[in-house]
């Protein structure tokens, strides 16, 4: 029977599930839109794994992404790791010589600087979403096109329009203005790609020494226009790994493998969790003026976890 390790990345835009084997080969991947319902989507993903690999052994589970704690509560994870570490681990597994990882996700973007297989520096976007996937998502909506067509359309541009990239709100008004002037759609789309890359390099990558090999991961790497804009700005080749969209989950799976090997057992609750009933019950605590928003998660009516309080009164 096959032995697998599972990695789950619960992000703001997508929830990704992967299975890897003992040699870190990807056996299965599933990219689901989170749609603000991480619980249901996670159950759905696990159910699909059960249907496909119901009789396989899952020896360990790792979770990452902003929903990593929630996912771990439901599933029982051996490793709960931040996205930076997971992306770096997956990038190094893909190419041990990697020096720079550019990762652009739905709500955040990061740069990871690696030297001799060790993360030596990283940065994430601060208060601004202009350098992230949701910026493109939003503009695609405005332009009335599918985000998946964005990159191909951008590549058709011969004369890109300059669009302000400092702020998503400024960019939008700039873009509308350029539309009103009558610029071609592909030139505007390309202009948006350039704007995102400019914002990324001047905001997140500021002061960092970007060296090749450069890996580009995260959902936005599907966009060919962005990749080309990066290559032009950096004057270096930018590699996109085959599984660019699930690298975080792969990293989590690899880390879970190491953890389980060291510990000798897994905390995984089993694949049948998808049959159970989960309910989230929000509580507004009125104990003090902080009025914490507490979440209570129930599994088949039993309290599984509670968190969100500052004082620890509710936490289990």
């Amino acid at each position: 029977m096959d032995n697998f390790y599972m990695g789950i990345d619960v992000g703001s835009v997508s929830t990704n599930l992967v299975l890897i084997d003992e040699e870190n080969n990807l056996v299965y991947k599933r990219y689901l839109r989170t749609q603000g319902r991480p619980l249901d989507i996670l159950k759905e993903g696990i159910k699909e794994v059960k249907d496909k690999f119901g009789d396989a052994h899952i020896l360990g589970v790792g979770t990452t992404g902003s929903g990593r704690y929630l996912a771990s509560v439901l599933i029982g994870a051996d490793v709960i790791k931040n996205e930076i570490t997971c992306h770096a681990v997956a990038a190094l597994d893909h190419n041990p010589d990697t020096r720079t990882v550019i990762e652009i996700g739905g709500q955040d973007s990061k740069i990871i600087i690696i030297n001799d297989g060790i993360v030596v520096d990283f940065a994430m976007n601060t208060v601004c979403a202009a350098g992230t996937g949701s910026f493109l998502d939003r503009q695609a909506l405005r332009l009335g096109m599918e985000i998946s067509d964005f990159g191909t359309i951008a590549l058709n541009s011969s004369n890109p329009v300059r669009i302000a990239g400092r702020c998503a709100v400024f960019a939008e008004s700039d873009m509308i203005h350029k539309q009103q002037l009558g610029h071609n759609q592909e030139d505007i789309v390309r202009g948006l790609c350039d704007a995102l890359v400019r914002n990324y390099l001047s905001n997140i990558a500021k002061g960092k020494y970007v060296k090749s090999p450069i890996l580009f991961q995260g959902g936005v790497a599907a966009n060919k226009g962005i990749r080309e804009a990066f290559e032009i700005e950096l004057k270096e080749e930018v590699y996109i790994p085959t599984n660019f969209d699930v690298m975080g989950a792969i990293g989590a799976a690899i880390l879970s493998k190491d953890e389980v090997k060291e510990k000798g057992h897994t905390k995984f609750k089993g694949i049948d969790m998808c049959r159970k009933d989960y309910k989230v019950n929000p509580i507004d605590c009125n104990g003090c003026s902080n009025i914490c928003e507490i979440l209570e998660i129930k599994e088949d009516g039993n309290i599984l976890a509670r968190y969100g309080d500052k004082c620890g009164k509710w936490s289990l």
Binding site: K81, V119, F122
Partner: protein
């Protein structure tokens, strides 16, 4: 006994023990607003100018909390604390902003402390005394008593501001938490970062641990003289700890929209790049979701452990 309200914000974090002793000495009771909480934050945002940074908004909330509980509120206008140096413009304008933004205030003691133009702190405290009909002689006596033991400030930080169960442990990771004291020590603004570090057994260093002589000496290593007193403290502390190799990393807590921080974060990050000390800037504003801050913190600590694991590793950072 008449009551003087001290809002728990901005300069409170670097002066409170002195203020308290001074006012007690001249016969007034001190009332400090509660620790920053959601109510105080909400009222602060509601009662202040929109463009201000979060700490300024929060101190408005603290003043609002105090206004019907005390006879006076102490919000001095601290212009300058050293010759040829200034405080941030928002600190200079603080009493004016507060008086024009919040209604039904008791009397605000907004004495000017301007050590660039006047001789010293003592004359400032004499002016404070004048508000309360206290003679110069009495004021000076109270001032001298309040400032007789400088080390009481650091005792106060250890007792009141650091996490309750915080313990220094040799051989653990040492992190310098840098930033304005009102960002470093207000655990509501920074979502309890000191607590999070302490729970992970990290040793915490702050700029406030250093004497002003050290700060003066080590801030002079910058190319150009810094004319912000608080900026000087931050840069001097960074230089001291970096050059003496006492720390494994720096976490800079900056306020969104802070003019000083926009310059200081870069000065510190450049210095830490040269000396290969990991540096991370966390920008603080109104957000309450902790996922973002936890992710960055965990990644930062992971990075340090990862570096540590491979001792033979000699960085060729550039």
């Amino acid at each position: 006994m008449k009551k003087i309200g001290v809002p728990r914000g901005m300069l409170y974090y670097e002066n409170f023990p002195f203020w308290k002793d001074y006012f007690n000495e001249i016969g007034y009771e001190i009332v400090v607003s509660k620790k920053t909480n959601k109510d105080i934050l909400d009222n602060g945002i509601l009662n202040s100018v929109d463009e201000a940074c979060l700490p300024v908004k929060i101190i408005h909330g603290h003043v609002d909390y105090l206004k019907d509980k005390v006879d006076y509120i102490f919000v001095p206008r601290v212009v300058s604390l050293y010759k040829r140096e200034y405080c941030c413009p928002k600190i200079l304008g603080l009493p004016e902003m507060i008086k024009n933004s919040i209604e039904d205030l008791p009397e605000i003691i907004d004495t000017i402390f301007d050590l660039d133009k006047r001789s010293g702190l003592e004359s400032g405290y004499r002016d404070v005394g004048k508000y309360l009909n206290v003679s110069n002689k009495e004021s000076s006596k109270a001032y001298k008593k309040a400032y007789s033991q400088k080390e009481k400030y650091n005792d106060w930080i250890r007792a009141e501001l650091l996490p309750m169960n915080y313990k220094f442990r040799p051989n653990n990771i040492n992190i310098l938490v840098l930033g304005h004291s009102y960002n470093v020590f207000d655990d509501y603004i920074n979502m309890g970062i000191l607590d999070k570090l302490s729970k992970r057994n990290i040793n915490i260093y702050t700029a406030e641990d250093l004497s002003s002589e050290h700060i003066r000496k080590f801030s002079s290593y910058t190319k150009k003289r810094l004319f912000w007193t608080h900026g000087r403290r931050i840069v001097g502390a960074a230089n001291y700890y970096i050059m003496n190799k006492e720390i494994d990393g720096i976490i800079f807590l900056s306020s969104f929209g802070c003019g000083l921080d926009s310059v200081l974060t870069h000065m510190v990050s450049r210095q830490s790049t040269i000396y290969e000390v990991p540096f991370m800037n966390l920008t603080l504003d109104e957000q309450t979701g902790e996922a973002g801050i936890n992710t960055r913190l965990e990644a930062f600590l992971d990075m340090m452990k990862w570096r540590d694991k491979d001792k033979s590793y000699i960085s060729t950072f550039r």
